[in-house]
């Protein structure tokens, strides 16, 4: 008996029991649809986190003063550490081979005032590179110049949130003068809107000034709160990080085996860190969905047993007229696999459909990967073979003499 004939026979048996076949398929349909939808949601959230993080900067590497430093017995917070100085910034700038942009960072907290309006904002003392590192663009006006940095000029760039709160929405504050902690600053430029970052921080609530100005005129300190760099490209990000660590370690005279007095974190590390949580979620969801596939498989097995019992006489007859055990086995196996594959196809359609429904109704990020479709399809085919095997084997092992007179 060739396989085409067996296929026809199996198909016929299914078609003559349409409703039952459909009910049996339901388990597989729900299982596959669940796997696809769950993976789509998981992948979607992972993708959106990745997008958010990559929006924070371009191949960014952050150097911060290290925690766990003792100063006269009192533990200090990381920001209170004064281990990073301008010399470190210059050394990195001179020595590093993998860095395309670098900016020091000096923070000041205070109140910005314009006319009758005031707004609390942290002032960030940086250089021109900072804009490209953090992917800020100038909407109107200009960046402060090299000369303004050298002379610690009282100029600043402000983000959209600050514009709205000090000047009112849509107004152009370029050329106007604001006061920050009573010091007058000229607004030389406005940054384009960036929105919230992955952690929900408003990236437009920002006031940028030359780091020299902030150091000398606003907070009067000689150390830095951090150094921001961009690696030349994604591939050298890790090398750049190691290089930075080595430069700083030798400058800070950190002995081998001792803890660093600074932290270097790269954007790709953050990416891995945040993705790993959503990865766990995705796996969890997929496992739950996978369990429903197994339940569906048990449904197939159950129905196949009923079918074998119900068709004992048919099996007996087929054997009497020349069907071998393997023919009967194949026939029932094809039936089980057909149920699971057709169920799988319907399940994929429903899974993809419901994923898009979730996207349009709930505005959740959805990413359907072809691998999730291939995976769930492969699993449900395997389910069909696995759970169809035992009933089919039982059918093939029937004794034709008993089977043909079975009542």
């Amino acid at each position: 008996m060739n396989i085409t004939n067996l296929f026809k026979i199996s198909l016929k048996a299914l078609v003559s029991n349409k409703f039952r076949a459909l009910l049996t398929m339901l388990g597989i349909i729900i299982g596959v649809a669940a796997v696809i939808a769950m993976l789509a949601i998981g992948q979607g959230s992972k993708q959106s986190i990745q997008d958010e993080i990559s929006k924070m900067g371009s191949n960014m590497i952050m150097v911060q003063p290290g925690a766990d430093m003792f100063s006269g017995g009192a533990r200090m917070s990381a920001t209170a550490n004064q281990s990073l100085i301008l010399g470190d910034y210059e050394a990195i700038k001179d020595q590093s081979n993998y860095i395309s942009a670098i900016s020091p960072l000096v923070n000041a907290t205070g109140q910005s005032i314009y006319g009758a309006n005031n707004w609390p904002v942290s002032m960030q003392g940086v250089n021109q590179d900072y804009l490209s590192i953090r992917k800020y663009n100038v909407a109107s006006g200009r960046i402060f110049s090299e000369r303004e940095i050298a002379t610690a000029a009282k100029v600043c760039l402000i983000g959209q949130t600050v514009v709205t709160n000090l000047f009112g929405e849509g107004s152009d504050p370029v050329g106007k003068s604001i006061r920050y902690n009573k010091i007058p600053f000229e607004v030389v430029g406005v940054l384009t809107e960036k929105g919230e970052n992955g952690m929900g921080q408003d990236q437009d609530d920002v006031l940028l000034a030359p780091y020299t100005t902030v150091q000398k005129r606003v907070v009067a300190i000689t150390y830095l709160n951090g150094i921001f760099c961009s690696a030349k490209n994604e591939d050298v990000s890790d090398k750049a990080k190691t290089e930075l660590e080595n430069i700083l370690r030798s400058r800070h005279h950190v002995k081998a085996g001792d803890d660093d007095d600074f932290h270097v974190r790269s954007q790709s590390e953050m990416l891995t860190m945040f993705s790993s949580t959503s990865q766990v979620m995705t796996i969890l969801l997929a496992v739950i969905a996978g369990i429903s596939l197994i339940v569906g498989g048990i449904g197939i097995m159950n129905i196949m047993f009923v079918s074998v019992t119900e068709r004992t006489r048919e099996i007996g007859l087929r054997m009497a007229i020349g069907a071998r055990g393997i023919d009967i086995l194949t026939q029932f196996l094809i039936e089980a696999v057909l149920i699971s594959i057709v169920g799988g196809i319907i399940g994929v359609a429903i899974g993809v459909g419901s994923s898009f429904l979730i996207k349009s109704m709930l505005h959740w990020p959805i990413v359907i990967t072809s691998s999730s479709i291939v995976l769930s399809f492969a699993v449900c085919t395997f389910t069909g073979v696995f759970f169809g095997w035992y009933p089919a084997k039982k059918a093939a092992n029937l004794d034709p003499i008993d089977a043909i007179r079975y009542e």
């Binding site: 008996m1 016929k12 003559s16 006489r313 007996g316 009497a320 007229i321 020349g322 069907a323």
Partner: protein, 253 residues
């Protein structure tokens, strides 16, 4: 004439619990080509066991069985399946047609297990045998749309479709009323006259009248094996039946 079936000292034992049951205790006979043989016996006489062995569904414990010159005793399950497919046509008491399947597809079934036969040949052959049993106009009917007699004709067509060397019928008229039984027997006689070899298991003596030879079984042994000088014609017996037989049966039941 060649020997279609040749059994020699056939024995079959069953183990039931600790007991050995002897269903066949040494049976020898030969069926030649073109013979119409009835195998008779009460229940428990061993006729079903014998039929199973003749049909290659079972193998004897002892003794030799040659079907069309081929020794069956040492054959594997799969070899016997192939042999059944090529050499034997079965007709059962309960017709055993596949439900929700047309007469034509039911008849095609044995050929579906023979990969040497193409779909076209299969259909042609099936139509041909359905015409031979007088069901040319019922080819696309489902079993539940046909009478018992028609269903049995489909079953006979199915037994003929692979051009078997022998047709084995197991109480083939057991579920039919007298009139239909005679119709079926007259079909068997017609097939026999066309050269088909038939072995017909029955416990009804009046059915045995239509065969040329009767083998009587009792307690696993042959008690009588006689060739008849005069064979009754089923067609004539059918004509002799009262016309309203069907009505009488329906009133009686």
């Amino acid at each position: 004439m060649t020997d279609i079936i040749k059994v020699d000292n056939l024995k079959r034992e069953f183990i039931v619990g600790d007991q050995k049951v002897l269903a066949l205790r040494g049976i020898s006979f030969t069926i030649r080509q073109g013979e119409f043989v009835t195998i008779m016996g009460a229940s428990g006489s061993g006729k079903s066991t014998l039929l199973n062995i003749l049909g290659c569904l079972d193998t004897p414990t002892e003794g030799e069985y040659l079907l069309d010159g081929i020794s069956v005793r040492t054959m594997s399950k799969n070899e016997r399946a192939k042999l059944r497919n090529m050499k034997i046509g079965f007709v059962f008491q309960t017709y055993n047609l596949l439900p929700r399947t047309t007469a034509l597809e039911n008849v095609e079934l044995p050929l579906m297990y023979n990969s040497a036969v193409s779909a076209k040949e299969r259909k042609e052959k099936a139509i041909q045998v359905l015409e031979a049993v007088g069901l040319a106009d019922r080819m696309y009917h489902m079993p539940n749309q046909m009478s018992g007699g028609q269903q049995q004709r489909v079953a006979i067509a199915r037994a003929l479709v692979n051009s078997p060397v022998i047709i084995l019928a197991d109480e083939a008229t057991g579920n039919l009323d007298t009139r239909t039984s005679y119709e079926i027997m007259s079909l068997f006689q017609k097939l026999n006259s066309e050269g088909k070899t038939i072995a017909f298991v029955t416990h009804e003596p009046d059915i045995a009248l239509f065969s040329q030879r009767s083998i009587m079984l009792r307690d696993g042994r042959i008690t009588k094996d006689e060739k008849k000088t005069k064979v009754a014609s089923a067609a004539e017996s059918l004509a002799a039946l009262p016309k309203d037989e069907d009505e009488m049966v329906s009133i009686a039941s």
